[in-house]
């Protein structure tokens, strides 16, 4: 199956550093809207409450990746790659003090890939499974 979210080596390194620093698992929630919007936010796992209106796109390098359900309707035909770039950011995403910012690069799925995408779950469902 074609994963919905990929990750670059640089982003993996950042996740490793953050996990070490915070001593916890991490999670991502894709934002929308102005300023730092349209960027993925990284939090300590469980700090951001997800629910029935969030879509779980899968796990990326051991981290759950979520997006709000209405936003997913406009994003679902694209494969996302979690990357990292130098920058300041402006949100509560925990990598910001490192002078870097997670970001998303996107690619359209091919017609064949669209047939073989893994199923999504709601935030509520994935939390129940993980309990």
């Amino acid at each position: 199956m074609t994963p919905r979210v990929l990750i670059t080596d640089k982003a993996k390194d950042t996740i490793d550093q953050l996990k070490k620093r915070f001593g916890t698992e991490l999670m991502f929630h894709q934002s929308g809207g102005c300023c730092d919007g349209s960027s993925p936010m990284c939090f300590e796992k469980g700090d951001f409450k997800v629910g029935s209106q969030d879509v779980w796109l899968g796990e990326v390098y051991g981290c759950d990746f979520f997006m709000s359900a209405d936003q997913f309707q406009y994003w679902k035909h694209t494969q996302l790659t979690l990357d990292v770039t130098p920058g300041r950011g402006s949100s509560f995403s925990i990598e910001i003090p490192m002078g870097i910012r997670f970001m998303i690069r996107s690619r359209l799925f091919t017609m064949e890939e669209l047939e073989s995408l893994p199923p999504t779950k709601t935030g509520e469902e994935i939390l129940a499974e993980q309990d």
Binding site: G33, C34, C35, D36, F48, S68, R88, G89
Partner: protein
């Protein structure tokens, strides 16, 4: 190959900016608890130009201590006195407008032309507006019957937390600070980490105007300084401008403390051009063309950026030819050059994000009508964050039509009927701004009513007078900014229900 129109003026001189700025707490300059400062990078050339204090929970607590101490007196300071002080702040900004405009340009990257003509004059006007409205503000009283009177009196909420975005650093700070102080609240402000300097220069100018602790500014990173402010049990309200995930997170924290919040979370604003726009090639047609090109104002870093152009199919060619021509004529260059019309994006991550959208737009098959790439500027600007003003043509389901790019990028599509225009306009998660351009008197009223957005500009765009309420429908947030109604976002109602009867009820 560069195809941009370039500025030809030399940049104006840079004002003196301190090497570093501390927090402004309790009327004093307070070094950060961490002892650390972070570089503030100018988008003009990608180089540091000052340092900001790296705030943390301890600094936020200090600021809250100062604000709570000040609130005892500030909350009962007369409207006349509060008004006088707000007017004084306005006067000081006005006297230092040129210097502040230059620093705002260095901090944010936007063209001096805009900070001079829009950002700073609007700051002055907003302080004056709120200084004015509190002199005429009244609570209400009603006589329920001849012995019973109800007084509904507005009282300030207390100490509030205000989180400011980086796109209009001084103006967005003013939008939040002026009404809060006017209402009698004290505030702890957390500016964006991309733009922490201009507000500190303003604090230096107005340090002695307000009683210590009424206005406190703590700089730092969101997770280190913003989070302790938003989670504090000692704030009566949090006002936030930013994006949806952080908006939800702040609401989550507020739910734990049971306090109110107001949210301004951006948009994907439609700018609709009806067929009658092209009935004549006159001054109005020219104004409408400018209205479409408004997507490039502030490099597109505006929550209400008209990032979707909806144009009637019959006038598409006539209208868009001129819009493209006008867009190509936008002068790019050094933001401090007086003839530069569009400056730099505010940060490297913002720049990279916009480029990623130019990429996804092309992948999705949107046609590039102009721009579409980074701008190759030279003469010391090679390391700055410059992007060409870009127009895509496509359809409303494409991601460039649905997501806030927050860059100088707009996407155009056509419609056949008014119903279709409204349907496309409302096919978005957001509802902050919209534009409607027409010569038809009926459309001028009916179409704006049908658009689900908090602000519909009719035959104009990007005007932000203090006297008009501004805020979002749908996922663009709730609560309003500007306008006297804003005062009640910083107040609560004290009802005194008074009986003037000497007779007992007779129950007991």
């Amino acid at each position: 190959m560069s195809t941009e129109t370039l500025s030809t003026s030399k940049p104006v001189e840079r004002p003196k900016i301190k090497e570093k700025y501390d927090h402004f707490i309790g009327g004093k300059w307070v070094a950060p608890d961490s002892g650390e400062y972070f570089d503030n990078i100018s988008p003009i050339d990608g180089k540091p130009f000052s340092k900001a204090a790296r705030g943390n929970k301890v600094d936020i607590e200090k600021a809250l201590d100062a604000a709570h101490e000040a609130f005892t007196k500030w909350s009962v300071t007369s409207a006349a006195e509060r008004s006088k002080l707000l007017n004084k702040i306005a006067d000081i900004i006005e006297e230092n407008l040129e210097m502040l405009a230059r620093i705002e340009t260095i901090d944010n990257g936007k063209a001096l032309r805009e900070t001079r003509a829009a950002d700073l004059p609007l700051c002055v006007d907003h302080f004056r507006y709120f200084a004015g409205v509190i002199r005429a503000d009244e609570s209400s009283i009603s006589e329920h019957d001849e012995h019973t009177v109800s007084i509904a009196l507005q009282e300030p909420l207390g100490v509030v937390g205000q989180i400011i975005p980086w796109n209009f650093p001084l103006l967005m700070a003013t939008w939040k600070i002026a009404p809060a102080l006017a209402a009698g609240c004290c505030t702890v402000v957390k500016p964006a980490e991309q733009t922490p300097t201009s507000i500190m220069v303003l604090m230096e100018l107005i340090a002695d105007v307000l009683p210590p602790g009424v206005l406190n500014v703590v700089t730092g990173f969101g997770p280190e300084a913003g989070k302790p402010l938003a989670t504090s049990t000692r704030v009566a309200k949090v006002a936030f401008t930013g994006e949806t995930t952080t908006g939800r997170l702040i609401m989550q924290y507020a739910s734990e403390n049971l306090i109110p919040v107001t949210m301004e979370l951006g948009g994907k604003s439609p700018n609709i051009f009806m067929k009658s726009v092209a009935d004549a090639d006159d001054a109005f047609f020219d104004k409408a063309i400018e209205g479409a090109v408004m997507f490039a104002l502030n490099q597109g870093e505006v929550c209400t950026c008209p990032s979707r152009i909806l144009v009637h199919e019959d006038i598409y060619d006539t209208f868009m030819d001129r819009v493209i021509e006008r867009t190509k004529a936008i002068k790019m260059g050094h933001p401090l050059a007086e003839d530069t019309m569009m400056g730099a994006q505010a940060s490297n991550d913002q720049y990279e994000k916009i480029l990623s959208y130019l990429d996804i737009g092309k992948q999705e098959g949107a046609q590039v009508l102009c721009g579409g790439d980074k701008a190759g500027l030279n003469s010391g600007l090679e390391t700055g964050y410059y992007i060409q003003p870009t127009i895509f043509k496509g359809h409303n389901k494409m991601r460039v039509f649905q997501e806030e790019i927050f860059g100088p990028v707009t996407s155009v599509t056509t419609f056949k009927t008014t119903e279709e225009a409204i349907e496309i306009a409302n096919d978005t998660m957001y509802g902050l701004g919209a534009g409607l351009w027409s010569r038809d008197a009926h459309e001028l009223y009916q179409v704006p009513r049908a658009i689900k957005a908090g602000r519909v500009w009719v035959n104009c765009y990007h005007a932000y007078p203090a006297h008009a309420p501004f805020g979002g429908y749908k996922k663009s947030g709730f609560g309003r900014e500007n306008h006297l109604m804003m005062l009640n976002h910083y107040r609560q109602t004290k009802n005194m229900l008074i009986s003037y009867s000497k007779e007992k009820l007779g129950f007991f």
